[in-house]
């Protein structure tokens, strides 16, 4: 069995990461009834015996002694990490996995990327290497960060390129939280565009998530659960925003939103952790969904968002779950994949579903979904037999779809508005190592990415002739 290491950078990255570890523990506690350290647990956790002086690791099959997260926590201020260390999750981390500073990056990409990136380079690599040494077959790094601030976007993308340099063989999947248009960080367009270039060049896959989409989903679920219609009672701990049954007691403001992202990461790794009749390993994600190296932005959607408590009501059936995965209000970015062009799509099903359910739904949905001419059958599927906590089944769809284009264009517009006036530019240029050319290169990179999506979009709806086949002399 393979392992993955989670690298969480910045305030947002650490908050999301914190929810992930809580829910991951909840999920394994739910599945693992015997209290033994099994292969599934080993993918994200180490089992150490703290009584031994060297903190010796215990092998697969023994009793669970003391679980340690395969994680590296980086933040340039202390607040969030300290909170984690005082909370119920403190046990799963130890000081060797943490790296903090006190002064923060001041919402400045350059400070995070250049100043802290250079100052902490050795320490970061050292901590990463330690985490990697604890794995016997490392498959994947999951980087969690936000795009808007200074540390997550600046230092986060610096960590990404360090990962590529030091561990080129290991797959890098990045979860990036994109700021809302009305972000309170004035420089967030700069930070995001500068970070985008790094993501385009150094990540294997990026799962873009918009803050606003998370807000919308949380609102929708809250509305549903307070509507109080008879028979529409939503089961406790079945909503995707719930942390019910986890270690943390009282919910903090962003927990509901962060739980969605945490669930995304749990589902994406489920098939690599648990058994299933059609395994989908993490290295298959990029292989199947990334036809061209730069176009590796995969739009996630999660269903179901909740299940109803009353079993006598015809609950949302399996097929509804598949339909929802393609609807606008289940996407984790504000986009409409149905009306854009699919390059490829993965369906990762958990729980009680068979290959015939997959086939039936693909056949049913295919006509309404435009696929690029050379990938009309661009479906990748996985079946994992262990459902998420509180559900009988669930579906994660990952779409490589041109619907990300509007989000990127909007970002570029907001960037241009600031950049035209050279607003706040001096804060960046005074940072050592930062040059103005970084800005133009970053916009160029983003523009050419948008252009690539645009070219593909242009083929949509046109009947593309088949490529003339090789002819054989007879």
């Amino acid at each position: 069995m393979t392992q993955s290491v989670v690298v969480q950078v910045g305030q947002c990255g650490n908050q999301v990461g914190c929810r992930f570890w809580d829910l991951a523990l909840r999920e394994h506690a739910h599945v693992n009834k015997k209290g033994l350290y099994d292969e599934a647990l080993s993918s994200f956790f180490r089992n150490v015996d703290s009584r031994k002086s060297d903190g010796g690791a215990c092998g697969i099959g023994g009793r669970i002694q003391h679980l340690k997260a395969r994680a590296v926590l980086v933040d340039m201020e202390e607040g969030v990490v300290n909170e984690i260390l005082q909370g119920p999750l403190r046990e799963v981390f130890d000081s060797t996995q943490l790296l903090t500073d006190v002064s923060g990056s001041g919402n400045n990409w350059a400070v995070g990327h250049m100043t802290y990136g250079s100052a902490y380079r050795e320490q970061i690599v050292d901590k990463l290497r330690k985490a990697v040494e604890h794995c016997d077959c490392l498959q994947c790094f999951f980087l969690i960060h936000s795009m808007g601030g200074g540390t997550g976007s600046g230092l986060g993308t610096r960590v990404l390129s360090l990962l590529e340099e030091e561990f080129p063989e290991v797959c890098r999947i990045v979860t990036s939280i994109y700021p809302s248009a009305e972000d309170d960080v004035i420089t967030s367009p700069y930070n995001s565009v500068l970070a985008m270039r790094e993501l385009t060049e150094h990540a294997d896959c990026v799962l873009p998530i918009e803050n606003q989409s998370l807000v919308d989903i949380v609102d929708k679920i809250k509305r549903m659960s307070h509507s109080g219609k008879p028979g529409l009672v939503i089961k406790r701990d079945s909503t995707i925003i719930s942390g019910q049954g986890g270690l943390s007691g009282a919910e903090k403001p962003f927990d509901a939103m962060n739980n969605i992202v945490a669930n995304l990461l749990l589902n994406i790794t489920s098939s690599a952790r648990f058994e299933g009749s059609l395994n989908m390993d993490l290295n298959e994600i990029a292989m199947n969904l990334v036809p061209f190296p730069r176009l590796h932005y995969l739009v996630p959607s999660l269903t179901p968002l909740y299940t109803l408590a009353d079993v006598s009501v015809p609950t949302r059936r399996l097929d509804q779950m598949f339909s929802d995965a393609f609807s606008k209000d289940h996407q984790l970015i504000r986009a409409d994949p149905k009306h854009s062009l699919y390059l490829a799509c993965a369906l990762m099903v958990r729980g009680n579903a068979q290959v015939s359910d997959l086939r039936r739904n693909i056949e049913r949905l295919k006509p309404s979904l435009p696929f690029v001419s050379w990938n009309q059958e661009g479906w990748k599927t996985g079946l994992c037999s262990v459902p998420p906590v509180g559900h009988s089944h669930s579906l994660l769809a990952l779409a490589n779809n041109t619907c990300v284009k509007p989000t990127f264009m909007e970002l570029r517009d907001r960037f241009t508005k600031l950049y035209r006036k050279k607003a706040h530019l001096h804060h960046y240029l005074q940072v050592e190592g930062m040059e103005q050319s970084f800005f133009s290169e970053a916009t160029n990179s983003l523009s050419s990415l948008i252009e690539e999506y645009h070219h593909l979009d242009a083929t949509k709806g046109r009947l593309m002739p088949d490529a003339p086949r090789l002819s054989i002399a007879r």
């Binding site: 069995m1 393979t2 292969e39 016997d136 077959c137 498959q139 058994e275 009749s277 059609l278 395994n279 390993d281 290295n283 298959e284 990029a286 292989m287 199947n288 969904l289 990334v290 036809p291 061209f292 190296p293 490829a344 369906l347 068979q354 290959v355 015939s356 359910d357 997959l358 086939r359 693909i362 056949e363 295919k366 001419s373 050379w374 990938n375 009309q376 059958e377 661009g378 479906w379 990748k380 599927t381 088949d466 490529a467 086949r469 090789l470 002819s471 054989i472 007879r474």
Partner: protein
């Protein structure tokens, strides 16, 4: 004589498990000592304690499926896999043929070869090797191709049969057509015969003939195992003089693949029905064979929706094209009949020269195996292994889709990363276009 099976990748290991399970349960039904002994010698060896151990080597690049197959066999209690006849790694090939063929294969060559060698040395006489795999993923296709190549090097004179599972047309692996093209093009140079099951066809059999509501992969795999088993179990051949034939692989190859350009074998079996209906059904050989013959010439892979209009062409109209009437020309056919009154079955309909190419006489092109022992709960059962145009269309589709993708160079960077170049792709495309061209000119 014995067959050593190599199960590769998730699909190969799942289908392989179902096959051994079926072979064992079929051989142990009722009182037919000769049949049972012959079958066991082929596929199992016996330990000092009388346990049956499959003559199989299990190879995968990740451990989950192999562990499952091994423990399911142990749970079943009738047979098991050898204690140390499996090899797995921790990290799969990621659906990438190049990763399997260029990286994993060479890296683990010695271990796998040693496992096969040990199995081969356990056989008194080796009939040949059978490699089971899918063509869609990375391990079965990539490592499978590499391992087949190694086996060909070590056992240049042995028969090698590849059993391939072709993916659903949609929705398993997006790069499946690339992986399939690379696999088939390479295997065509290495293998003596390539026996193909298409998931789509088998899935239809499960839903329409077996009436299974929620079809799982084990259902699909059981159908494949049933068809494969009916080919592989002991039978009497024309020149075996009343004893079970000794070399099933050799006889299969010599009956069906007489020309190196034509190696693709398809299978159909009748009857196939849910076990609850078997008890209420009665079959006659003339009825079964009439259906089977029409399935052959109209290229229908299951006993439903047969087009009865299709007839063999008269001598004068022997010029057809791919798009022409749907008559399916055969190069060679092997008919295997098992069950009650098998000696009374009249198989003349399959000897009609109009079914075959003009350059091979029908007495060469048609072979018949029989066994009076009913197979796997069916009182009568007929299986046809056919080297015909039956796989032409799916092959042409597969190559066409891969070529379209290749034209925009999508996903190629993933293969280049592991050392497969655009020229390698072109070579594979060329050799498969040659195969397509040969089969479409078969008449």
């Amino acid at each position: 004589m014995s067959i050593v099976t190599v199960q590769l990748g998730q699909c190969g290991n799942q289908v392989g498990h179902e096959l051994f399970d079926l072979l064992c349960s079929d051989a142990q039904q009722g009182q037919r000592k000769l049949y049972s002994t012959a079958s066991c010698e082929r596929f199992f060896h016996q330990t000092a304690h009388g346990e049956l151990v499959a003559r199989a080597v299990l190879v995968d690049m990740e451990p989950k499926v192999i562990n499952q197959s091994i423990s399911r066999a142990v749970k079943g209690g009738r047979w098991r896999y050898g204690e140390s006849s499996h090899f797995s790694q921790k990290q799969g090939s990621g659906n990438n043929w190049a990763n399997g063929y260029c990286v994993h294969g060479p890296r683990h060559r010695d271990v796998v070869e040693e496992l096969v060698r040990r199995e081969v040395e356990r056989c008194d006489r080796l009939a040949g090797l059978m490699a089971m795999m899918s063509v869609a993923g990375g391990t079965g296709s990539g490592v499978g191709t590499y391992v087949t190549q190694c086996l060909r090097d070590i056992y240049p004179k042995s028969f090698i049969l590849n059993h391939l599972t072709w993916p659903y047309g949609t929705g398993e692996v997006i790069v499946q057509n690339y992986n399939s093209v690379l696999t088939l093009a390479h295997l065509y140079q290495l293998s003596d015969a390539i026996l193909v099951h298409e998931n789509d066809t088998v899935h239809r059999i499960c839903s329409q003939l077996l009436n299974i509501k929620h079809i799982s992969f084990s259902d699909v795999n059981r159908v494949i195992a049933h068809q494969l088993g009916s080919i592989m179990q002991p039978a009497l051949t024309a020149d075996s003089h009343g004893v079970y034939s000794r070399n099933p692989l050799g006889e299969l190859v010599s009956a069906l693949t007489c020309h190196p350009e034509y190696k693709l074998l398809s299978v159909c079996t009748i009857p196939q029905m849910s076990s609850s209906s078997i008890a209420y059904s009665a079959f006659s050989w003339p009825g079964l064979l009439k259906h089977l013959r029409q399935m052959l010439i109209s290229n229908t892979k299951m006993e439903e929706g047969i087009d009865w209009q299709v007839r063999p062409p008269a001598g004068s109209e022997r010029t057809r094209s791919l798009t022409g009437p749907s008559f399916n020309t055969s190069l060679a056919n092997l008919l295997i009949l098992r069950g009650k009154d098998v000696y009374s079955a009249e198989t003349g309909g399959f000897e009609d020269p109009a079914l075959y190419t003009s350059w091979l006489p029908s007495e060469e092109a048609f072979n018949l195996w029989k066994s009076p022992v009913p197979f796997n709960k069916y009182e009568k059962s007929a299986t046809l292994v056919s080297n015909s145009q039956a796989l032409l269309r799916p092959l042409d589709n597969m190559v066409g889709k891969a070529w379209n993708m290749f034209a925009s160079r999508a996903y190629i960077h993933q293969y280049i990363k592991f050392g497969i170049s655009e020229e390698d792709f072109l070579d594979s495309f060329t050799s498969l276009e040659q195969v397509i061209s040969s089969y479409s000119q078969l008449c």
